[in-house]
Amino acid sequence: MSEQATATHTISVLVDNEAGVLARVIGLFSGRGYNIDSLTVAEVDQSAHMSRITIVTSGTPQVIEQIKAQLGRLVPVHRVVDLTVECESVERELALVKVSGKGEARVEALRLSEAFRARVVDATPESFVFEITGNSEKIDAFIELMTPLGLQEASRTGAAALARGPEPM
């Protein structure tokens, strides 16, 4: 069992949007020693008071199965889907990236941002804040490229994800 390889999984969880539900999910992960690479949560259906939590985690297949079962056991949880193995899915993350610099570096940052289809949402004579959307690898790559060009800080939303195709999960 211990020889099983670990892999990254994106898990989508539909929950009742009630007080403490996020604490339950996070407490479950910390209490049982599971990883959280990223976690996003917001209400997605106001009339039904439902929120979607998207968790990117990693573990062996046995651990991922446990995570799913443990999430499913929480009383306010409606559905749990492993978007990585149960279906095809799309995944996007948004990041704001602040880069400061002058001259050649500043020009290069702007040029690269265009290649990445990032938008400038704030600018001063010596800085930019870029908004970039994409899968997490793309954002990792963008941030890495900005590092030598004067990267100051970044704020990332964590992954949002949905199954492909016409049906809800």
Partner: protein, 585 residues
Amino acid sequence: MEKQINGAKIVLQALRDNGVQHIFGYPGGAVLPIYDELFQQEDIEHILVRHEQGATHAAEGYARSSGKCGVVLVTSGPGATNAVTGLTDALMDSIPMVCITGQVPTHLIGADAFQEADTVGITRACTKHNYLVKDVNDLARVMHEAFYVATTGRPGPVVVDIPKDVQFAMGNYLKPTAVKHKSYQPKVKGDMEAINAAVDLIANAKKPVFYTGGGVINSGPQASQLLREFVKLTGYPITSTLMGLGSYPSADKQWLGMLGMHGTYEANLAMHDCDVMINIGARFDDRITGALDKFSPDSKKIHIDIDPSSINKNVVVDVPIVGDVAHVLEDMLRVYKSRAVTPDKKALSSWWKEIEGWRDRNCLAYRKDDKAIKPQYAVERLYELTKGPDTFITTEVGQHQMWAAQYYRFEDPNRWMTSGGLGTMGYGIPAAVGVQVANPKGLVIDIAGEASAMMTMQELSTAVQHRLPIKIFILNNEYMGMVRQWQELLHGGRYSNSYSEALPDFVKLAEAYGATGIRAEKPSELDDAIKRMVDTDGPVIFDCIVTKEENCFPMIPSGAAHNDMLLADDQGLEVEVSDEGKALV
């Protein structure tokens, strides 16, 4: 429009409508409105404990012995934090419980108000679910939901935290309609394809074993009945965990005794060597599996469990069946019968021959002593002199608990109450209180250790007040015996702080409480003393002075495999335990 009533009345009405007759509790400022309502009614009896931990264990004993939900009522802050151990215990052992906690008024929450504690925060990890009710109009629904969640699926404790202003506020009461929760819908019927696959494996097994657990008890008496029928029909051997004792009669010859760390030689070897393992409502706990990589290496494994998270958690199985034991067994029996299966007689008889060989080791034999009382002997005599369908045994935690499991014998479910998963010393006395409340005519005995009994001894006062004639049968070895045994095994016999110093005189202590104290020091006086205990109307502390340095065998040292057991006649305890094993508990 319906007449509005206050929150405290809503609580009482919800308790009544959920069939509650007894609650265990302790008052305080934040629950005074509920206590006031309790005072003015007669349907629900309140049992006043001496410590909130006692209320939780009493509720556990009540629940386990009656199949009903245990109910606890405590105040905010220290009342709630004192309940945490019992909540955790109930979570680990799957005991249905609803615990109502008072809370400071809503407008003071977060202000570090007097006796404020973040009860839902603190109990989130030790409950199946919990609620903070901020609006009196949610109260009735939440109360009904709490009972539904606590008692269905895999049972467990549920906390309902009610601020004091909500107890005073006027609101509407709703009857518990057929509750269907939006998201919580436990599955009771097993998947038929999986059941068929399981029957295939069972029918063709050559060396099968039934491995049964607390889930059979949780599922109810019907499940034990079906289990008996199935086991008889197949002729296969059966063992059970500590939590499952009583679901199958121990007098039957197919019964191998308990398995696991202190289980019998035959049960553990049957588990190790079997080709088909039929796990019914057990959770592959580490006390059972020992070293996971050496656990029953050659078997196909079937696992019936109502909780999907129990499946493949510790041990990967071949045929998982998610569902309630009674429901699944009913289907399984039907399929099994309809196929007119004939078990492989030849294979089975050579399997039984092998098992009989292990049985002949007589692993529970111990050296008798005619001067001093051996703890094993004390339990054997206690069993002989108290057995019967109306006898209920609770225990504390330690060697005495294991001797009780090994030497007391159970024919029926719901007669054996012990803290298995959490291993809470101090469980037994309050649990006995709860059992006696649920079974006023029963003979309720806590088989105790002297150290454990000291942890919740004050509940004897509860027993005296409520005329609950519980018997606290202390196997007094003047040691935290189980700790001492591990120190002997793993720490060179350095008995660091495991000696029971400055013990009270238990006979006098009993008398101080207004109970009866009895002491036995010699085997020759044991039987008479036990009979006196049974014949005493009120509560008794029985101080049974036993040999001090007895070890509990058989034993699988932690980190070892099932076929690496220590038996009583092995030389001392000088075994090699790997560093990895030492790190385990």
